[in-house]
């Protein structure tokens, strides 16, 4: 995008001796503000400007992000039902009861199934579709648009449509299955504890596959065309080219996408709330639905606070671990290639 904006560089200083021109400008600027004490008041003025520019954003983040997060930590060590002062200090009791709660343990397990399930399903599918769409074929632009549509829809809207599709017996999915002689579960796909989480995973795959495809396609555009041409001249098959050139070169894109997908799966709320509400029999509860349920319906603010902190710690630990073990490879290879180039 940067190339769109570099053009209007003023003619006065562009050209071969830009540094000299810049020095001259600096001299003139210094002279202009050269009044006694001007330097110090300039420094103060600069500080004031910085503060004025950054303050609104920082204030908003402090009030609506930092303060609530700090409050969650504070609530987590009290037993508090939302009225009266915070005085019933219970130490780590809330953490103990959250961590020993079967429903929360289940929720953590569900989050991890969604984290790994999403990546295992969407990575091969997304790669396959991106490689397919990277060919010169009729209607390619339209295809790219269509595949991205589910991603743009609100999770709630997609969820309501899928809820209708998955209605037991009268829903389209069950009708099609009965039509080809299969037997859908009597309680419906979302009503059967053994199936519900997997169905949620499939709906999420439908919703988010488009993002993977679009990002992979963008990564593919960075693969230099000459590579394909020379590989073709050497007689490599399409599949060989993909496996030994395209996919390795997509590595950084894939790793970053995995990271985004993982963080999203850990925070999963909307789709579950619409499709199952966490049921049946807590078969699809996630950490986020657990803490919202504790905080709103039951007003167990201490428990909700402890669950929030645990959710954050898990997300943070996963993010750091991912950064350390996987994304680090990208910066290391970058450094290595830079050294090789030097």
């Amino acid at each position: 995008m940067a190339h769109e904006v570099t053009d209007p560089a003023p003619a006065a200083v562009s050209g071969h001796d830009a540094p000299a021109a810049r020095r001259a400008i600096a001299r003139r600027a210094a002279r202009r503000s050269g009044a006694p004490g001007g330097r110090r008041s300039d420094a103060w003025r600069k500080r004031l400007e910085i503060a004025l520019f950054v303050a609104p954003a920082l204030a908003l983040i402090a009030l609506f992000v930092a303060w609530p997060v700090a409050s969650a930590v504070r609530f987590s060590v009290y037993r508090w039902k939302g009225f009266g002062p915070l005085e019933d200090f219970v130490g780590f009791d809330n953490y103990v009861s959250v961590l020993t709660d079967d429903v929360f343990q289940g929720a953590v397990g569900h989050n991890f199934i969604i984290v790994f399930g999403s990546i295992l399903l969407q990575l091969p599918l997304g790669l396959g579709i991106a490689l397919l769409l990277n060919r010169d074929m009729w209607g390619r632009g339209l295809l790219r648009t269509i595949i991205f549509v589910p991603y743009v829809l609100a999770e709630v809207i997609a969820g309501v449509v899928w809820f209708q599709l998955l209605q037991p017996q009268y829903g389209m999915v069950d009708a099609i299955m009965s039509g080809i002689g299969l037997d859908p579960p009597a309680q419906g796909w979302l009503g059967t504890p053994d199936h519900a989480l997997w169905v949620v995973l499939l709906v999420l795959t439908w919703k988010y596959l488009g993002l993977a495809v679009i990002l992979f396609l963008a990564g593919l555009q960075g693969v230099p065309e000459e590579l394909y041409e020379s590989a073709q001249l050497d007689g490599a098959s399409w599949w060989q080219v993909q496996r030994s050139i395209t996919i390795p070169l997509l590595g950084p894109t894939i790793r970053t996408w995995c990271f985004l997908s993982m963080i999203g799966s850990l925070q999963l709320f909307d789709m579950v709330w619409i499709l199952t509400g966490g049921g049946p029999a807590n078969a699809t509860t996630t950490m986020a639905t657990f803490l919202v349920n504790q905080g709103t319906d039951r007003q167990n603010y201490g428990i909700a606070g402890a669950a929030s902190v645990i959710l954050f710690v898990i997300s943070f630990a996963m993010a750091v671990a991912y950064q350390f073990f996987i994304l680090r490879r990208d910066t290391m290879t970058e450094r290595r290639t830079r050294k090789a180039a030097a």
């Binding site: 200083v13 520019f53 920082l58 983040i61 609506f64 969650a72 269509i146």
Partner: protein, 279 residues
């Protein structure tokens, strides 16, 4: 020599088109089912869930479009999204400007504050946020009460995207303008801001769609008349669960604004997401 765009192994063979067709069918199938289902009656839907409308009925759609509540939800969604976008873009570019164009001690540390902000998902803060807005600020059930926190959560990403954008503008711009006697703020306002309009549109669209689709925060903060479209759709589908055709029509119409916005600004959205991934 003419170079084809075929990336070497070009062209589609029938198998490629077949796979593409299956992918398209699975992707748009559910959306199309919703749109077509809205043109059927509940009796038709019950008799044959997979059939086409026969005859086509408009009642469900006219019912939604003449429903005052629908327009009320749409208005709330629009106002909240516009406030969120405005606050995010204005505060975001203001914060990104000194972080990109001023030299000062602690600049990278200040930028890290915004990067750290990326790590806090809304779900972690949601319950205290609910208490803060309903009790301490008395802003429950107001447009601003939803828009301001949404902007706060969108700001870190906005600053992270805009800073490299502003950094890429040549230094000479400011220097030349300052010889002419402009102040730094004047330079920002009259020269840099117009130059980074493409970046502002990208972050603006991301903020708008994020707000338009948001569910968790509005769910906790808005009731009755103040609900947004996602809340309206979800509540309608539980309140009138027997009226499948009506639910489908309501949902389909609620999809349209996001789809239109996406089709109109597709390039910006995609480049914004890609920028976020690269950055």
């Amino acid at each position: 020599m003419t170079r084809s765009r075929t990336k070497g192994y070009g062209g589609g063979n029938p198998l490629v088109y077949l796979i593409a067709l299956i992918v398209v069918a699975l992707t748009v199938g559910p959306v199309l089912y919703g749109a077509l289902g809205g043109f059927r009656t509940n009796a038709q839907l019950a008799a044959d869930p997979t059939g086409l409308p026969d005859p086509w009925v408009l009642d469900n759609y006219t019912g939604v479009l003449t429903n005052e509540a629908f327009w009320r939800y749409a208005l709330n969604s629009t106002v909240i999204a516009v406030i969120t976008t405005g606050v995010t873009v204005i505060f975001g570019v203001m914060a990104a400007y000194p972080l990109a164009r001023y030299e000062f001690r602690g600049r990278e540390a200040l930028f890290m504050v915004f990067v750290l902000g990326l790590l806090f998902p809304a779900a972690v803060a949601i319950i205290p946020l609910f208490i803060l807005i309903t009790r301490d600020l008395s802003m429950a059930n107001t447009w601003w009460g939803v828009a301001l926190p949404q902007a706060a959560f969108a700001l870190p990403m906005t600053v992270v995207i805009l800073r490299p954008f502003l950094m890429a503008l040549p230094k000479e711009i400011e220097e030349a303008a300052m010889i002419d006697g402009s102040s730094r703020i004047g330079v920002f306002w009259r020269i840099l801001l117009p130059l980074c309009v493409p970046g502002l549109i990208t972050v603006g669209v991301l903020a708008f769609i994020g707000s338009w689709n948001a569910y968790l925060l509005p769910l906790l903060l808005l009731q009755g008349e103040m609900r947004t479209l996602p809340l309206g759709v979800a509540d309608y589908s539980t309140e009138y669960s027997a009226d499948t055709a009506g639910v489908l029509a309501f949902t389909t119409i609620a999809m349209i604004p996001a789809l239109v916005l996406f089709l109109a600004l597709q390039k910006r959205i995609v480049s914004g997401l890609q920028g976020a991934v690269k950055g």
